[in-house]
């Protein structure tokens, strides 16, 4: 070190000062509070108002929640327990109604010893979806399938499935997971087969009925491939053959095979469905069907063929112009006038059809928004590559358009899932109102008003929030631009 300055300057600092902590008002929580909550007279007033409202909510709700009773056999008993513990004037939630009747909120009037079937159908749904939803993330997929399988098995066991049933559940789940891990391509086929498995599990009866319904699709596909040289005629012939098969033959064949090899589960009729089993059945079916239908409608609306375009526009505008409840009333009441007496056109199926049509019209517009957002160059590039219409849509246009539309699509899904509670108006037992009112109609739970709403609302929130989070995950995954 030089000592140049030793004589010229009286004092030179040769070490750095230790850093001072910033002033209290400029750091940490205080700074954040000052900047965000108390930055001016208006914000101070708003903050105080907000705190006051929070305090109001808390001071009214907290006593009610903290006095909650979970073990009682009637409202009267709840009131006694609360009065004994917190004084005669205390009020409190009587969540014992949930504990007592949770099975009806979840399963409706589904036979108690068959609860494992909807549980398995719901659990298997995740196995069916995982290869699609988590296509490029094996870790997430393994977490989802593993958790779903373990939970399904555990819940089925707790709900009293027999040994044989548990063994079958375990074999099915394990085989499916192995399939997903070993043969990803075949797992997609299993996903396509899932709806038929779910129908069989939920409604019971012989396995051959859903299988023969599936056979209709296979027949249509085979005919379409065989005649594919003839363009649109092949498609029409395939549709006709499938419809003929479903109307005339499939029932006979199913019954014929069932006589030899029954493969029967105890049948459960639609009026025994209720609660979340009903909501989820209608919701999942509606979601799964409305997406492809919505894509077709969106493409049809942008088509150059006037007839197809007009029909799509008419359909979409009609459906969007009519309230869902009107469609449900048509499904439940008006259709019966046109059916021959004694025909049993399942009410849940009717509702699923109407909900699907309703959601697909909205879906079509959401997807059309995505198609419209694509730069024209993408279409021209696809044409320049010599791709025909379907190939261009499949390889270039739709992957981009659907990606853009993800938030809108998931919004439609969530809205539709919540709309399933409207089936209360056609006499089905949705969990929110019909099931709650029905449970209140037993004298012991008369007066339990908020508790069922809170419980059902919480479950709806979990399911819808889950969908919403997944959509955000998907958006991050599919992000290709550098904005």
């Amino acid at each position: 070190m030089s000592d140049t300055h030793a004589q010229t300057v009286a004092f030179v600092r040769d070490t750095m000062l230790p850093p001072e902590p910033p002033p209290v008002s400029e750091s940490g929580a205080v700074k954040w509070l000052r900047e965000n909550l108390f930055s001016g007279p208006l914000n101070i007033a708003l903050t105080l108002l907000g705190l006051f409202i929070l305090w109001l909510l808390f001071s009214t709700l907290w006593p009610w929640l903290s006095h909650s009773v979970w073990n009682a056999n009637s409202m009267a008993e709840c009131r006694e327990i609360i009065a004994a513990a917190h004084g005669p004037d205390a009020s409190g939630g009587c969540f014992a109604v949930i504990k007592h009747r949770w099975n009806q909120f979840v399963f409706g009037f589904y036979p108690v010893d068959l609860y494992w079937r909807p549980v398995l159908a719901f659990g298997a749904l995740f196995l069916a979806l995982a290869p699609v939803l988590f296509a490029d993330s094996p870790l997430a997929r393994r977490i989802v399938t593993g958790t779903a399988a373990v939970l399904t098995f555990a819940i089925a066991a707790v709900l009293g499935a027999g040994g044989l049933e548990l063994a079958a559940i375990a074999v099915l789940l394990l085989a499916w997971i192995l399939l997903i891990e070993m043969r990803g391509d075949l797992a997609l086929v299993a996903t396509l087969l899932y709806p038929f498995l779910a129908v069989w599990l939920l409604w019971g009866g012989t396995l051959w009925e859903p299988l023969m319904a599936l056979a209709g699709f296979v027949i249509g596909f085979v005919i379409w491939r065989a005649l594919s040289a003839y363009g649109m005629f092949a498609f029409a012939a395939a549709v006709l053959a499938a419809v003929l098969w479903w109307l005339l033959l499939s029932d006979l064949v199913a019954r014929g095979i069932a006589a030899i090899l029954p493969m029967r589960l105890v049948p459960v009729s639609s009026d025994q469905f209720g609660g979340f089993v009903l909501s989820i059945t209608i919701g999942v079916a509606g979601i799964a069907l409305s997406l492809p239908l919505g894509i077709v409608l969106a493409l049809a609306r942008r088509s150059d063929l006037p007839i197809i375009k007009t029909m799509a526009v008419l359909f979409i505008e009609f459906i969007r112009g009519v309230p869902l409840i009107t469609l449900l009333f048509v499904a439940s009441l008006l259709l019966n006038y046109f059916m021959p007496p004694g025909t049993n056109f399942d009410i849940i199926l009717r509702v699923i059809i109407m909900v699907t049509l309703f959601a697909s019209a909205y879906m079509a517009e959401v997807i059309r928004g995505g198609l419209a957002a694509l730069p024209k160059g993408q279409y021209e590039a696809a044409d320049a590559l010599g791709l025909d219409y379907w190939k261009a849509q499949r390889l270039v246009i739709l992957p981009q358009a659907l990606k853009i539309s993800i938030p809108g699509i998931v919004s439609t899904f969530i809205g539709m899932f919540k709309d399933t509670t409207l089936v209360v108006f056609v006499g089905l037992f949705d969990p929110l109102k019909a099931m709650s009112d029905t449970i209140r109609a037993s004298f012991e739970w008369k007066g339990a008003y908020w508790e069922p709403y809170i419980f059902v609302g919480a479950i709806f929130f979990i399911l819808c929030f889950g969908m919403s989070r997944y959509s955000m995950y998907l958006e991050r995954r599919l992000k290709r631009d550098h904005r």
């Binding site: 009037f109 009441l333 008006l334």
Partner: protein, 341 residues
């Protein structure tokens, strides 16, 4: 291709619709072929129709469904309960989704004629009343001038209320509600001074309150609400079956036939009316297209009218309704079954 398929299906639907009209009027055979009777009930009304924790329906109206099923099919469990709302109940009946409606529905002129229903009798004579908080200091409905009143929309009670206040030159402020549970909640939250609905419903509501002693049901009954089972117009035989099943339950009480002594009476009763009722002599059932023991089975399910009343809504139950108008004519009530002969 598509168009012809569309035309084809339209034609098929039209044919089917004519078929539906032609086949109308044979509910009995339809029910027998189906093996199950579809009975429209309330989606849940305390005491009248409600499923328990295991999903089994019980209640005053449900008992009638069971009785008819026992008479027609010989098995009271062969009933499919179709829960109907205030809006769907009549359409469900006329569209054939249900065979009979036992859903505390008021028998009115317009429903009987214009809606093409047949009310086959009355199983509960109700009337519209008011419930108020005691500290309101009101002891008569005539003092409700200017009151806010919770009222369920789309029901006859709404119209009765308007009529009553108009007739007495009073004004009121309606608070529209959608269901009984909501009405209770609004009333408890003091959103309305008075809650009005059928007196049976008021009694059940009051009994379920934490403090029933603080609420009174005003003495005035402002309307007639004869609640009864209904069937479709145009199938008189089926209407007869439901009507006489109800009459059988009422008559059984009059003659002292109970679920306990019915087997014994069928063998040994000397009363010719009882003998005809239970099919010991004469075959009244044949005239309905049923067998001789139809009424015996119907009564056996849950007893006679009095037993059903006592078990579901009577004074021994928490709902605690007195017989009142619903007593036998011999006891000063309105129940009067026509003779079985």
């Amino acid at each position: 291709m598509k168009k012809s398929a569309l035309f084809g299906s339209v034609t098929a639907l039209a044919l089917a619709a004519t078929g539906a009209m032609a086949a109308e009027g044979d509910t009995l055979n339809e029910v027998k072929a189906r093996g199950v009777m579809n009975c429209g009930v309330n989606t849940g009304l305390v005491g009248f129709a409600a499923p328990d924790a295991n999903g089994n329906w019980t209640g005053f109206d449900v008992a009638l469904c069971k009785a008819v099923a026992a008479a027609v099919l010989g098995d009271a469990t062969k009933v499919k309960y179709v829960p109907t709302t205030g809006q769907t109940r009549f359409t469900a009946l006329s569209s054939g989704e249900i065979d009979m409606l036992a859903r505390n529905s008021t028998w009115t002129f317009q429903r009987d004629t214009d809606l093409k229903l047949d009310f086959v009798g009355v199983n509960y004579y109700d009337g519209q009343g008011f419930m108020v908080r005691k500290d309101l200091g009101v002891s008569s409905a005539k003092e409700l001038e200017g009151a806010t009143i919770c009222i369920q929309t789309g029901t006859t009670t709404e119209l009765n209320l308007a009529d009553y206040f108009k007739a007495n030159g009073m004004s009121y402020q309606p608070v529209n509600i959608d269901s009984n549970a909501e009405g209770e909640q609004q009333y408890m939250a003091a959103a309305c001074d008075a809650y009005t609905t059928d007196a049976s419903g008021l009694a059940a509501t009051r009994a379920a309150f934490a403090d029933p002693e603080n609420h009174i049901i005003l003495p005035e009954i402002i309307s007639k609400e004869p609640l009864g089972p209904a069937v479709r117009h145009g199938d008189n035989n089926w209407g007869d079956i439901v009507r006489w099943t109800l009459n059988a339950l009422v008559a059984a009480e009059e003659y002292g036939v109970t679920s306990a002594n019915i087997d014994e009476l069928a063998k040994s009763s000397q009363n010719p009316e009882v003998q005809r009722l239970l099919g010991t002599t004469d075959e009244l059932g044949k005239m309905l297209g049923l067998d001789a023991e139809w009424a015996k089975r119907a009564i056996k399910v849950s007893g006679n009218y009095g037993e059903i009343f006592a078990a579901t809504i009577g004074e021994q139950t928490p709902i605690g309704l007195a017989r009142g108008l619903n007593a036998q004519w011999t006891q000063g009530g309105l129940l009067y079954a026509p003779p079985f002969r």
